[in-house]
């Protein structure tokens, strides 16, 4: 039994590695002559989710739905406006910076922007050891070589500069950097969306292998539904700063309850011409409303074909639909 399988079984019994409770992040909008705060961007509005050891939680949603902001709040790269994030039961708000960084790491979206162009790969990968263990680059040559091998590169690459590598190779270096501190949680912010499709598979498979070997929890942020389906154990769907549906992968993909999830999944082409012809596609009308002034009640109601008066007045809570898996929650008054 792999670590991943254990994790799914353990999900209901053991404590999560990372849990976020009612996380809110608002950005002030400055304007006017004196630069006063004239409005707020409600990027994340009360999102709660947790991941267990060895588990991958996929977070999907359109651009601007707050998934990246949520990932950054989890790592305290942004301070939460409200709510709290716990790592192994400890509140991260009061955790010393070094400890937090040792336990939770991040892999960034753009492999071309996430490596310092003036640092060799050896310098990039030895920096975690310098910061956390006070070891100089010369003292960690073996560790760095090992890291490079772990991600499928050669130890000789340590003297090279980032511009000498391809996108996929750079993303592997970014992953190696996150692994250096041996974290419990890694937030992966669209780690493969900047890569060619042919390269994506290699990186995704590397991530899966590393998780099997080391048992870290992943928070996998993406907008590519097929990649999320491949790597995730559970999936959370976000819309306009809200978590509208969360549950085991098979539940979300086979029995989506939220109209938004339904619409998202219907947009995925099926690689089978016969089935593809029968695919019923739901095309959402309108644009995503502005997060400065989100709709009242259910935030999806302005684009939902099932919206009623109730949706305008009452915000639907996350709950289980009768007959579903107890881990499958949906925030909708009229679930599918």
């Amino acid at each position: 039994m792999t670590v991943t399988d254990e994790a799914v079984d353990a999900a209901t019994t053991t404590a999560p590695v990372m849990s976020a409770v009612d996380v809110v992040k608002e950005f002030p909008v400055h304007g006017g002559v004196f630069g006063r705060t004239i409005a707020k961007v409600h990027a994340v509005s009360g999102v709660s989710m947790s991941v267990h050891r060895g588990e991958t939680l996929g977070i999907v949603g359109e651009s601007g739905c707050g998934k990246s902001t949520f990932g950054r709040v989890v790592l305290r790269l942004l301070t939460a406006t409200a709510g709290r994030v716990e790592l192994g039961g400890e509140d991260t708000a009061t955790m010393p910076n070094k400890q937090l960084r040792r336990r939770a790491q991040m892999v960034f979206q753009d492999p071309y922007a996430s490596l310092n162009p003036r640092m060799t790969i050896g310098e990039v990968l030895s920096e975690p050891y310098l910061v956390h263990q006070g070891k100089k680059q010369k003292e960690v040559v073996d560790e760095v070589g090992e890291l490079l091998q772990t991600v499928g590169l050669s130890p000789e690459h340590r003297s090279r500069y980032p511009h000498e590598f391809s996108g996929g190779q750079r993303q592997r270096i970014g992953i190696a950097r996150a692994l250096a501190v041996d974290p419990e949680v890694i937030v992966l912010d669209e780690p493969v969306s900047a890569l060619d499709v042919s390269i994506q598979a290699g990186v995704v498979n590397l991530l899966e292998r590393l998780q099997d070997e080391r048992g870290m929890a992943y928070l996998f942020i993406a907008h590519d539904l097929s990649v999320v389906r491949h790597i995730s154990d559970r999936v959370a769907v976000m819309y306009l700063g809200k978590n509208v549906e969360i549950g085991p992968k098979s539940e979300i993909y086979n029995r989506p309850r939220h109209p938004y999830t339904y619409a998202l999944l219907s947009a995925v082409p099926i690689p089978d011409p016969k089935k593809e012809k029968e695919r019923r596609r739901i095309v959402l009308t309108g644009e995503v409303p502005s997060p400065i002034d989100p709709p009242s009640g259910c935030r999806f109601r302005t684009r939902c074909w099932k919206a009623t008066d109730e949706c305008t007045t009452d915000e639907p809570p996350l709950r289980v639909v009768a007959g579903d898996d107890p881990g499958h929650l949906v925030a909708c008054h009229h679930p599918e």
Partner: protein, 310 residues
Amino acid sequence: MNGRIDADTESGAGSAAIAGASLDSSLLDVGPSRSLFQDAWRRFKRNKLAMFGLFLVGFLVIVAIVGPFLVDDPTKLSKTVFREPPTNQHPFGVDHRGADVLARVVHGIRLSMFIGFIATVLQTVIGIFIGAVAGWYGRWVDTISMRFVDIMLGIPYIILAYAFITVLGRGVPAVILTLALTAWLQTARTVRAGFIQVKELEYVEAARALGVGSVRIMVRHILPNVFQPVVVLMAVGVGAAILSEAALSFLGVGIQPPEPSLGLMINDARSFLGSDPYLLFFPGLAIVLTVLGFLLVGDGLRDALDVKDN
């Protein structure tokens, strides 16, 4: 590669795909190694004007280092010869005090170079520090320091320098300090602009996510990436500092006689322009060539370094 992600496969297929992709030989192919410096040098070499500038600077540096051992003492005055045009014994002539002009020009170049280099290093350090702090911390720190820079830049340069040196006194250290304290403004602005741009990049966020402290992020991650325009400013700055030193000495507030300063020599030669133009010609030529050399090198560096990374 057979590890293709298929929307229809469930996680069971994932483990099979792992084996296929984990050891892909294409990952080990990396192009030939070539440093950013080598790239820039290659472009610099192609620029004829810049190479001429570099030759000038190189020649004058050698003159400044070796020259003083080959010429007379610039303060040794002849009792019999005054204002003599170039001869075999005094190739640049003799000035009104009876000193050998060649000796004074060579020592003048040495002093100018010394002042130019030290002042530039100092102003660069000040400019980087203030620019980095303003750009990194932003908000009121940025507002205060940059408004101060604006005010300083609003004052005509020579008046500003005159005011500073009046306070700081006379002599070489005072001149160096004056030049440094008046020249850091452009460096600070450039560094600040670079910091504001680079601090938003993902690799800086990656360093923060790794737990790297502010000072190390500024020094190791941001500074090397904003240093290129600073290098250009330094090259141009040495030339500008030499020119400013000559101007201050010309005005009588810089280097004091009998120290050999090119500006001072030009000031002295002014009175004899009609009868003895060679007294003005040689120190003037020395200043022009020195400043020209540094400006050409600066321009060449700007072109050689002004390419996007990769």
